[in-house]
Amino acid sequence: MAMKKAGFVMVFLLVLFFWQVVTAVFHVPEYMFPRPGDVALALWQMAKSGRLFESSVASLFRVTWGFYLAAATAIPLGLFLGRKRLFRHMLNPLIQFLRPISPLAWIPIALMWFGIGDRPAIFLIFLASFFPLVVSTISSVLNIRTTYLRVAENFGLKGISLYTRVILPAALPEIITAIRITLGTAWLVIVAAEMIAVKSGLGYLIIDARNSLRMDMVVAGMIVIGVIGLVLDFLVRLLERLPSIEWSRMRR
C-alpha cells in the first residue's frame, strides 16, 4: 500500500517536472499551454473567489439529478424487461436503436425543449445514463442463477416481493458495476453539455475561460474535472464492497 502511494506521488511529481521543463525550455507561449505555476495560481484564484466551488456544485447537481432519474427509471424497467420475454423482444430493438446515439446529438433538441439552464443538462445526463443502465440491468437479470429463482418459487415468492427480495439483490452486483461505468460516462457528458446548454458549471468554466483566452484557467478546470471524476469512482467502488454485494466478486 505504501509502495503504491509512493509510486503514485513519484509519477505525479515527474509529470509536473516535465511539464515545467518542457514549457520553459521550448518557450511554449502561455496561450498554447500554461506553466504549472500559472495553473496553480489560477486554481487558487478561482477557489478563493468561490467560482470553483460554485461550478463544481452546479455540475454535480446536474449529474446527480440526471443520473438519479435515469437510475430510478432504468433499473426497474430493466428488472421488468429481464423477466418478461415478450416485452423485452418488443422494446429491445428500440432501446438498441437509441443507445448508440451520442447524448450530445440530442443537444439541439434538448435546447429546443428545455431552453438554457439546468434542465437540458439534466436531460442529457439522463439520456447518457438511461440506455446503458437499462441494457445492463436486463443482462444482469438474465444472468441470475436458475437455482435462486427456483428457490424463490419454492418458497412461494411472487410479484413485488419476488423482485425486491430475490431478483434485485441477485442482479445488484452487476447493476452496481454498470452504475460505476455509466456514472463515468455521465461525468464525461456533463462537461460537453455545459459547454453549450447552460451558463454555469465546470464545462462552462472551461469554455468561458477559453473565450477569455485564459489557458491557465482552462487547464485548472480540467484538473478539477479529473479529480472529481476520481472521487465519484471511488465512492461507487465502496458500494461494491458492501457485504451483500461482495459475494459476486468472491465467487470468481
Binding site: 507561449p29 456544485v57 452546479a58 446527480t64 438554457i116 468561458d208 475561460a209
Partner: protein, 323 residues
Amino acid sequence: MNPLKLFKNISPEAAAPLLALLWLIVITLLHYGVTGQTHTKQRLKVGYLPITCHLLLPVAMERDGFFKENVDPIRFSSWPDMIESVKGNELDCAFILAPIAISLMDQSVPVVIALLGHRNGTGLVVAKNSGISSVKDFVGKTFAIPIRYSTQNMALLMLLGKNGIAVDKVNRVELPPPDMPSALASNSIDGYIVGEPYATQALIMGKGIIFKNSSDIWPNFISSLLIVNKDSLSKKRKLIDRFIRGLKRQGKWIEANRKKAADIGADFFGLNRDLVEQVLTARRVSYLDIVPRQRELDEIGKMMVQWHLLKKVPKIGIYTSWQ
C-alpha cells in the same frame, strides 16, 4: 476512510441509500443556495457574445441601475447556440448577427430588429507568415469566418468580388470567434474575418496583421443587431422600451469615455483590459448612429439572396416605438 461505516448503529447496507439521498438534498440546496437563482418572470433575458460589438450591454449593466434590477445577461460562446435559444423562445432580446436575424425572419421566427450593436468593428486578419500582400494572394488560402450568415462572410465575398476572384478559389471555414486567434497561431488557417477584439488579438500575439478594416471594404459596416422577441414584446413592452432606451444612451457615453468603457467591457466579458482598450482607442469601432434603417437592412437581405444565403428577401420588421 469509508463513509459507509461512519454510523455505528446503521449497517453499511442501510447507510448507502441514506447517504445517496442525503447527497441529493445537500447538492440541491447548495446549488440553489450558491447560484441564488431567483427566477422572477419580469426580468429580461438578453443573449450576447463576448465581443466588442455587444459592448452596449456591459456598459449599461454598469452604469444604469435599471439594468441591474431587471436584466439577466446570458452569455453564449457561439452563434449556433444562440440561434437555438432564440428559436426556443428562451430569450427576450439578443445581440445577434444581422444576416442571422434576417434569416430567422425568413423562417418566421417572431423577432423584430430594435437597434444596431455598433458600426465597423470588424477586421480581416492575415497571418504574418502566409505571404499575403494583396487580395490576389488569397487564392488557394484558408480563411475562417464566424458563420455563413454573417456580414463578415459577406464582406469577405464582397472583397473577393471586387478583385475579380471567384468565390470557390478561397477556402472558407466556420469557426467560433474565440478559436480564431489560436487557429491562426497554429497555422491551421491563413487568415480570418471577425468582430473585435479577436482581430486585434492576433496583433497582440504577434501572429497576424490586420489586412483590412471592415470600413475599408463596406462603409458603415453593420455586424450585430439587437433583436426582440415579439411574444416578449407583447408581455413586457414597458421593460423592453426602457431597456432599449437605456442601451441607446450608452452609445454617446462610450464615444466620450472609450478607455473607461473598454475596462468595463473587458471585466464583464472576462477579456484582457489592454486588448479591449487597444480596440476602442484605435477607433476601429463606432457606437454612434445605431438606429436601424429599413433601406440598409433590405440591402443586406438582397446581398444574402445574391450569395445564395436566402431564396428571397423576407419582410424585415423594425421595432421603433421605444423612441
